[in-house]
């Protein structure tokens, strides 16, 4: 049984001009211990699919799916209360802007502790110990001293480490990372990606990486889903995707990478659009 299995997911938003379909019948499956990358440009529906899974979309969104199972539990019919038990504990998510994702008014130690108090039976001293343990595991130097630090006293990379610590606090079975390194420097990106992959391998959780960066895909993924305008273009394991992309859009995307440039001009996706007909 897959960890997460979604069949034929459709998401529509009500707008003044009528419904807008952000996602049009896409399937997702993730197994435990697997790294799935979802790649696409802005507007491809890559984030919206995972936000729907987490139940984080606003009321203006209409979500339909033939199947939406997490460990055999149907996420569609779960009550809000039951859903709260799954979300944040068994499935957790980290976002693109680490500094904006943390509350500036509370210390990072408090915010981490809050997650633990909500989802576990740890209290008092135990919470503090676990927070220090978590901060150590994500590589924050001097964790005892840093639990009293506010987010603005930390760098972007450190805030992202805190976010990761918060996401893995309850040993989730599935971690969704939505562009976790886009706002960070290359050297820090490398550290964060290494950390995520390390944690994933140690704990055997499933990891979904949402990204637009082919480099990040190549460095982390086992399997890749390529999306464009709310549709799935291609699904393949990472090596075959890069070696022999089948879909014209994937081919276009890979040849638009500056490192694959031959000659003076970069091919753009629109060059392929006419030939490929997507």
């Amino acid at each position: 049984m897959s960890l997460l299995e979604i069949r034929n997911l459709r998401i529509e938003f009500d707008t003044a001009k009528g419904p807008f379909r952000a996602l049009d019948g896409v399937d997702y499956t993730v197994d435990a211990g697997e790294v799935l990358a979802i790649v696409g440009e802005s507007g491809s529906g890559k984030s919206v699919a995972m936000l729907a899974t987490m139940g984080l979309l606003p009321d203006s969104a209409t979500i339909t799916a033939d199947k939406m199972d997490f460990e055999g539990k149907d996420l569609r019919t779960l009550s809000t209360r039951a859903r709260r038990k799954v979300i944040g504990k068994d499935i957790s998510m980290i976002f693109q802007e680490p500094i904006a994702s943390l509350n500036p008014c509370f210390t990072v130690g408090f915010q981490l502790g809050e997650t633990l108090k909500t989802h576990t039976s740890l209290r008092g001293r135990q919470v503090k110990d676990r927070v220090i343990e978590l901060l150590t595991s994500v590589g924050i130097p001097d964790p005892e001293g840093r639990i009293d630090a506010f987010p603005h006293q930390m760098s972007g990379g450190q805030c992202q480490r805190v976010m990761i610590a918060m996401a893995i606090a309850c040993a989730p079975k599935l971690l969704i990372a939505d562009e976790p390194t886009t706002a960070l420097d290359v050297t820090i990106q490398k550290q964060i990606l290494d950390l995520l992959v390390q944690l994933q391998q140690d704990s055997g959780m499933g990891l979904i990486m949402i990204t637009h960066d082919m480099g990040v895909v190549a460095e982390t993924a086992d399997r890749v889903i390529v999306q464009y305008k709310g549709r799935k273009m291609e699904e393949a394991d990472v090596l075959s995707l890069f070696e022999s992309p089948q879909n014209p859009y994937t081919q276009a995307l890979l040849s638009a990478l500056p490192e694959n440039a031959t000659g003076n001009r970069l091919p753009t996706v629109s060059d392929f659009a006419e030939a490929g007909g997507f």
């Binding site: 972007g156 990106q189 460095e219 995307l253 638009a256 490192e259 694959n260 003076n264 970069l266 753009t268």
Partner: protein, 276 residues
């Protein structure tokens, strides 16, 4: 042309005073420490470094947004020291800048036509009809349509806005264009379009670029020379091939090692390491 060096920077410093509080003493932060380089006419210099290394401060000084603390900047034979001499219209016409975020760098209440005409309005005494013609020509040159003239920035996508920002920057026919991370906010396919546009404009107008970026694959694609900055200092400076093939400074090596590789060979290696 006797001297084809268009930008000459010597021993450039920029310091910022950090004011102290009631219990804290003020201190001095040196953002750029003694930077020197030359850029040849029609070539591209890429400036690489992480956030806080002083690359944007350098861009601000080159484009006269900030004055240097000491040192000299010479653009096309014209010495720039705005703290002493102020800014003349002549200086404005030599150098222009394109910023990273095309959503933040255009005034939401200004029509695209006005965005493009404003540099002419401020720096030349061209009549209105001529300005309009030039703006329309420029729209076409950067791959937009004449009907975009009367539209507002919110009606455009990120890539189109960046085209507008580039069009605005070249309205005055500058010699030097400073591009501060012009493609990092854009999608991969749009990035390719903008890079192609920049290459076309360089050929057509003989522009010189100072291209600030943290993306090494983009730098490798378009730079003639590469300068790596680290904590306000230049740690590596050379032609693209010298720097990429034989990086000397530790920081440059770290940077290369950290850049994700998107080729099948590296993926195979990673997967093999994972199984083991």
């Amino acid at each position: 042309m006797p001297d084809d060096v268009i930008l000459k920077v010597r021993d450039l410093y920029r310091t910022y005073e950090i004011s102290g509080g009631m219990f804290k003493k003020g201190s001095t932060l040196t953002a750029v420490k003694g930077v020197s380089f030359d850029v040849k006419r029609g070539s591209t210099l890429a400036v690489v470094g992480e956030s806080g290394c002083g690359k944007s401060t350098l861009a601000r000084m080159l484009t006269m947004i900030d004055a240097q603390s000491s040192g000299s900047i010479e653009i096309d034979g014209l010495s720039m020291d705005i703290a002493k001499t102020g800014i003349s219209k002549e200086m404005r016409q030599k150098v222009q800048i394109v910023f990273q975020n095309p959503y933040g760098s255009l005034n939401p209440r200004q029509k695209i036509g006005h965005v493009l005409e404003e540099p002419l309005l401020l720096n030349t005494d061209m009549p209105a009809a001529e300005r309009r013609d030039l703006a329309l020509q420029m729209l076409e040159k950067v791959g937009l349509q004449p009907e975009h003239y009367g539209r507002y920035p919110h009606m455009f996508s990120g890539g189109q806005r960046q085209r507008v920002a580039i069009a605005r920057a070249i309205m005055l026919q500058p010699k030097l264009l400073v591009l501060d991370e012009p493609v990092s906010a854009l999608d991969l396919s749009v990035q390719a379009q903008i890079l192609n546009l920049l290459a076309d404009l360089q050929d057509e107008m003989g522009l010189t670029y100072v291209f600030i970026s943290h993306d090494l694959s983009v730098v490798r694609y378009l730079a003639d020379k590469v300068m790596v900055m680290y904590f306000g200092e230049v740690v590596e400076y050379g032609t693209r091939d010298e720097v990429f093939e034989n990086p000397r400074h530790d920081y440059t090596k770290t940077l290369f090692a950290a850049t994700p590789r998107a080729d099948a060979e590296s993926i195979r290696k990673r997967l093999a390491a994972k199984v083991a």
